[in-house]
């Protein structure tokens, strides 16, 4: 899939910058440089390495309240300024070659004043000018961040989900290491997000790509995302030199009543591992409406039977009938990777907790 990346706010811009660095350092081409970085704080632009200067868009610098130094976490003010400057924000979209794109990702931290306030305005603006699906890649704050951040996130979540076509979330609370300062972990956390996002959305965009037998077409991905709502990503990988364990073989033997090949066992085990891995947003998997699974690795190791069984298992596990599967051949790779997208998950404890904390802040 080809998609434009639009970062909004400090977290969003840095994440876009990092995804772009991954693209530039790989043989994949998905954004083709179709990026924009919006912020109210011009100091954020100095931290960007890959987003070119002409794609930095300073929002609201002529407004007294902002003046190019950020929003101080006031999402209502940020949203109001963005609405006022709507035409200017729009004009920047012309820099994106949307005709060449299949979708747009608006990337933002939901707790930030700019991400949470300007972000939804940009999503709304994009949906009004383009027929493309406008997806959101959003980051939820940690519990330790102050109450207004949580309140921002809970409120902007409503706007992102309502105006965007699907919102993929990454929960910092579930992923960050409490032992060290959050600010020092952004790079690692962003790396995880980029890896998971690209494993699904940039599958098949390798320049020297072999044609996948069971290729995941862009339409397949879009069909899974079509549900709207909130979505989450799982991932697992294994070294191809890693043999399947005796335990895995025995388990497969007893479950199926017939013995599978070791390749089949390995693929099935890996899909399970990905589905049961820590998701970008932990949730009850059976609440998902549609799911997608991508297998990437050396073609000779991609057992069809193993993958079929894994897909069937996932369909039963998620209790949904729309589970699409595709592969991405990488002939010279020495690892196998499986990514899973759960689309429109509706039982999400972390969101319930976030809303509760937000209500407390709002009513206190």
């Amino acid at each position: 899939m080809k998609f434009a990346l639009v970062g909004v706010g400090g977290a969003g811009c840095r994440l876009v910058d990092q995804i772009l660095q991954v693209e530039q350092g790989s043989d994949r081409s998905f954004s083709g440089g179709n990026v924009l970085a919006y912020d109210t704080d011009k100091s954020v632009f100095e931290t960007l390495d890959a987003v070119p200067l002409d794609r930095h868009v300073l929002v609201g610098d002529t407004h007294e309240a902002l003046g190019g130094t950020g929003t101080d976490g006031d999402i209502d003010q940020a949203a109001a300024v963005a609405q006022e400057d709507r035409d200017e924000l729009h004009r920047e979209f012309d820099k994106l070659d949307l005709h060449e794109m299949d979708a747009v990702f608006v990337v933002a931290g939901l707790g930030g004043g700019t991400g949470g306030g300007v972000g939804p305005v940009i999503v709304e603006a994009l949906t009004s000018v383009s027929e493309l699906p406008i997806y959101v890649l959003g980051v939820l704050p940690t519990k330790a961040e102050n109450g207004s951040v949580t309140l921002n996130a809970a409120r902007s979540l409503q706007s992102f989900v309502t105006h965007g076509d699907n919102t993929i979330l990454f929960d910092n609370e579930s992923w960050y290491d409490e032992e060290s300062p959050l600010a020092e972990q952004y790079w690692t956390l962003n790396e995880t997000i980029a890896q998971r996002l690209l494993a699904v959305f940039a599958a098949g965009e390798r320049q020297s790509a072999d044609i996948a037998e069971n290729r995941l077409d862009t339409s397949d991905v879009m069909r899974i995302m079509e549900t709207g709502g909130v979505s989450t990503l799982g991932y697992a990988e294994t070294d191809v030199h890693n043999p399947t364990t005796l335990f895995q073989r025995l388990r497969a033997l007893f479950r199926n009543g017939e013995e599978d090949t070791t390749d089949a066992i390995r693929i099935k085990a890996l899909v399970k591992e990905a589905a049961e891995s820590e998701l970008t947003l932990p949730c009850d998997r059976s609440s998902t409406e549609r799911a997608l699974v991508v297998l990437s690795g050396p073609p000779h190791l991609c057992s069809r039977k193993g993958f079929e069984k894994a897909r069937q298992w996932l369909e039963e596990e998620t209790d949904t009938v729309v589970v699409l599967a595709g592969d991405e051949p990488r002939p010279t790779a020495d690892d196998l990777r499986v990514s899973v997208l759960f689309s429109n998950v509706t039982t999400v404890p972390r969101i319930e907790a976030l809303k509760e904390d937000a209500v407390l802040t709002e009513t206190s």
Partner: protein, 424 residues
């Protein structure tokens, strides 16, 4: 343009009246030219099957498919065929908002919509098909995806309007393991296919799933098995008259057997020729060898029985067949008329029908003797029943999810007392 010829009987076969198989002694037909086919593969699976058919033809010196056309909604998949010429590949839906040359995401309704929108383009692709030169049209498609299942019936409907020649369907049913959505696509599409084609030859992925394959090898082996059966059957009797035996099969017999409409199944068995002895040597496959003392006639009867009792393209109750046909293909010196006739009589009893035709397909240089059995209009096929109930379950689940989707999303993002307001 060759459209709408005045009669249903191609003018190149004047003898068809006098040599009608109905009047043939013991139902064994006389020689007539073999079938000439226009073939269309739709979607990924349909295109791959077509490609394997062309490959088998090429490898065995047959000349059945006079025209080949591949139609798909995914640009990348159209790059795959080895035998379908590049100028015979048509991309549809590249301007469709939901397809854009990227496939239809397994959505049968979008598949149908895309084909309807681009019907002019599809029609144009038939402009260079000299329909006087073909006896029938075969459309191959997978029924579980979105393109074959959705665009297939639209194309067939158009072909039926344009031509008087019979249009046959060759459709792959998804396996149970492929899940609810493909089952729903297939169950819906099957209705449209069977209603619109003159006969629908079904292939059941479940019955043919093999072990130890990689995704890359994919369904190649299964597609080859299917191609072998369909081409051996339909190309029967194409050798020139000097080689034709008196029992030779011809296209009118095959078309007559297919005339029933409905769903059909094909059985197949082959055995390697022992070159030194010129007799049937070691039999291939999972069935045991015959006694060394068996006569050629007994071996031929055994081969036909094995064809029926082996994996059929779609497992079915043989006795539910309306008509049946046996083609024995191989070097003429291995043919034994008595064997074929007793095989025919045996099948007449098995299939519980008097309409069983049998004929030879002499192939001087063939290294195998093979028997193909066509069971036409079989009405008891457990997999189709199972597929339909799987589809009903899937449809209910999808409807139930659709019904609560908006509400569940709303509940997820808002708090119970509506204390929290959206930003915009």
């Amino acid at each position: 343009m060759g459209r709408k010829p005045p009669t249903t009987c191609p003018s190149s076969r004047p003898e068809v009246e006098t040599h009608s198989p109905l009047v043939c002694e013991q139902g064994i037909a006389n020689s007539l030219p073999a079938m000439k086919l226009a073939t269309i593969g739709i979607g990924n699976a349909g295109t791959k099957i077509l490609d394997r058919m062309l490959e088998f033809e090429y490898n065995t010196d047959r000349n059945l498919c006079r025209h080949a056309l591949a139609i798909n909604t995914a640009r990348t998949d159209l790059a795959k065929p080895d035998f379908v010429p590049e100028d015979r590949r048509v991309l549809i839906g590249d301007t469709h908002q939901k397809a854009k040359g990227h496939g239809v995401g397994g959505d049968v309704d979008i598949g149908a919509d895309v084909a309807k929108t681009d019907i002019e383009e599809i029609r144009r692709a038939f402009d260079d098909v000299e329909i006087h030169d073909v006896d029938a049209i075969l459309v191959s498609a997978g029924l579980g995806g979105g393109t074959g299942s959705g665009a297939g019936p639209v194309v067939i409907d158009e072909l039926q309007k344009m031509y008087d020649e019979p249009v046959y369907g060759l459709g792959v049913l998804p396996g149970k393991y492929e899940g609810g959505r493909p089952a729903l696509n297939a169950a819906r599409s099957l209705q449209s296919f069977v209603t619109n084609v003159d006969n629908f030859i079904a292939f059941d992925n479940d019955a043919w799933r093999m072990r130890d394959q990689t995704i890359e090898e994919g369904y190649e082996d299964m597609n080859r098995e299917l191609a072998t059966r369909i081409v051996t059957l339909l190309a029967a009797g194409e050798q020139d008259n000097t080689e034709v035996a008196e029992n030779a099969m011809d296209s009118s017999d095959i078309m007559r057997t297919l005339n029933t409409g409905g769903v059909s199944s094909i059985g197949y068995a082959s055995s390697k020729i022992d070159e030194e002895a010129g007799l049937i040597g070691k039999f291939r496959g999972d069935v045991q060898d015959f006694d060394d003392g068996a006569t050629d006639a007994a071996k031929i009867k055994g081969l036909v029985r094995r064809a029926v009792n082996s994996r059929l393209t779609i497992p079915c109750e043989v006795s539910s067949a309306d008509r049946a046909l046996i083609v024995l293909s191989g070097p003429p010196e291995t043919f034994a008329r008595k064997g074929l006739e007793s095989a025919r009589q045996w099948l007449e009893q098995e299939a519980d029908t008097v309409e069983v035709l049998a004929g030879d397909d002499p192939r001087e240089n063939a290294s195998e003797l093979s028997a193909v059995v066509l069971l036409s209009n079989v009405t008891e096929t457990p997999r189709i029943k199972e597929l339909q109930s799987q589809a009903v379950d899937a449809q209910e689940k999808i409807k139930a999810q659709d019904a609560v989707r908006e509400q569940e999303i709303e509940e997820l993002i808002t708090d119970d007392d509506n204390e929290l307001d959206p930003v915009i």
